[in-house]
Symmetry: C3
């Protein structure tokens, strides 16, 4: 994937992370400061945990666009929440979130592969943390049930994408950019179909409470 194109997806994903975070905490009653902190944590939390475990500089320390975009998106989402909650806006945010997590899981896995860290498990584990670590941190701080406890199929397509990427790159390392692009699109499509069809975790994977 080209740098520019993946940067645009990353920024759209960051916007979606921040906006959906703010909309998720508003029902509990929050002020614009707390909402912005939640938006920023959701947007950069996962990548921050990944970089700390990798012991490399946190990604946002050299590119502040992530924090600025998350901050501005959070404030807009806070004051425009009536408008943001409109069905088609919220649906758009869900699909942007899907594009964001599809990109972030593969970008995260790719960073780990470059560092040859804990192969082949490390890229899958840290790719997942990149994509969902921020959202889980947000839910914990807000006192909401985390996505791991929900029946929505959120992390499963990401796991499939990350495993596919690690496997394919290990046999065809010279095509990592092409493979990355295809796997991101494929992961996004899996998640998009789940959103569109409102698919839940299949019964054989689930124990009801």
């Amino acid at each position: 994937m080209t740098q520019n194109f993946s940067f645009i997806i990353a920024m759209l994903g960051t916007i979606a992370f921040a906006v959906t975070a703010v909309l998720a905490v508003i029902p509990k009653g929050i002020d614009v400061f707390g909402a912005s902190v939640m938006g920023i944590i959701t947007a950069i939390g996962g990548g921050t945990i990944r970089d700390i475990i990798l012991d490399v500089p946190v990604f946002w320390s050299t590119d502040l666009s992530y924090i600025w975009v998350a901050l501005v998106s959070s404030i807009i989402a806070f004051y425009g929440h009536h408008w943001m909650k409109k069905k088609y806006i919220y649906q758009l945010m869900l699909y942007l979130d899907a594009a964001g997590i599809a990109l972030f899981v593969i970008q995260g896995a790719d960073k780990v592969i470059q560092l040859n860290f804990a192969m082949p498990v490390g890229p899958v584990v840290l790719g997942l943390i990149t994509a969902i670590g921020g959202g889980i941190t947000r839910d914990i701080i807000a006192g909401n049930s985390t996505l791991l406890m929900k029946k929505e199929l959120y992390a499963v397509p990401l796991t499939i994408g990350a495993i596919a990427y690690v496997f394919l790159v290990s046999i065809l390392p010279q095509y990592s950019i092409l493979i990355g692009s295809i796997v991101i699109i494929f992961t996004f499509l899996m998640r998009a179909i789940i959103i569109y069809k409102k698919l839940n975790v299949p019964k054989w994977m689930l124990i009801q409470s």
Copy 2:
């Protein structure tokens, strides 16, 4: 600010962090061990997260006074909680807490500026984490609602102080010690007035649940 004076404030802030932490978890039923862990986490948690993100040695590894003072304060607060809950003692703790967070946010921001990390956003973000990260971690572990979800004006004066400090030091770097002292006092006064007047988040900043 002189080293000695800021060390005294830091220790008073540590005592206030530990004592208010223990008093916050006692209503849920806890033993002296758990209470001490909560007191220590509250006192050193924020600075620890900051140092991990900065990738520098955690501050308490070279000066154990923070942990010892937090431990002893926690045990005293635990067994003396009936006395500590007395109105004037608790009020004293609130003002000591205000002095502590005012100091820690600026000290944290200053450490980040020295390392030239993610300027100018890094000092504000990590200064805030230094001051409130421990308290948020405590509330999460105790299963209490975190301060980000409350209507009290706790983090807003800290944010104003941190932004003011970063801005003023960037234009007058040679006066950083003087500026630091003034901003700490100014931040403390903002928070003290909020405590005294029991000010809440203004309505334009808030969405009610």
Copy 3:
């Protein structure tokens, strides 16, 4: 202790951590993916936090057996949870957990002593984090009450063991392996007696809610 013997205990402890984690989250309703994440976090979370604070490579990056064993144990526990809940299996898991935490607290403390980090408080604090950090993280993500808020005597024997180990090794450093083995057995026995006799925190250590 010999390398091989301590590796076997570590793997048995990892199995117990993962299995008890999965059984702890199943009542809330979870899928096999979430359960596996919980099992892995519980098994490796504490050591990961320790290594991040120590600023050394996370232990599982050079030995993936911990993650694989936790993953497989979690999946087996998930699909075999009716069988795992049987009284004698669950009791076995409690004792394996006791062996695991006894080993991990002393191994963690020993790693910190080798690095001469924040002596003599560091080994106790980080030994405890090694043993109970994963379980606390699991409870936070699952929205359960953490062990710090419970009346069970879980962390107290670990603290006694860690303090004893640091003290004895400081006066007899040449016998660290022998001392380690004895303290692990002693810590395990304390915890085993607590499980067997169902001992709770004594009243003088407790404030009821």
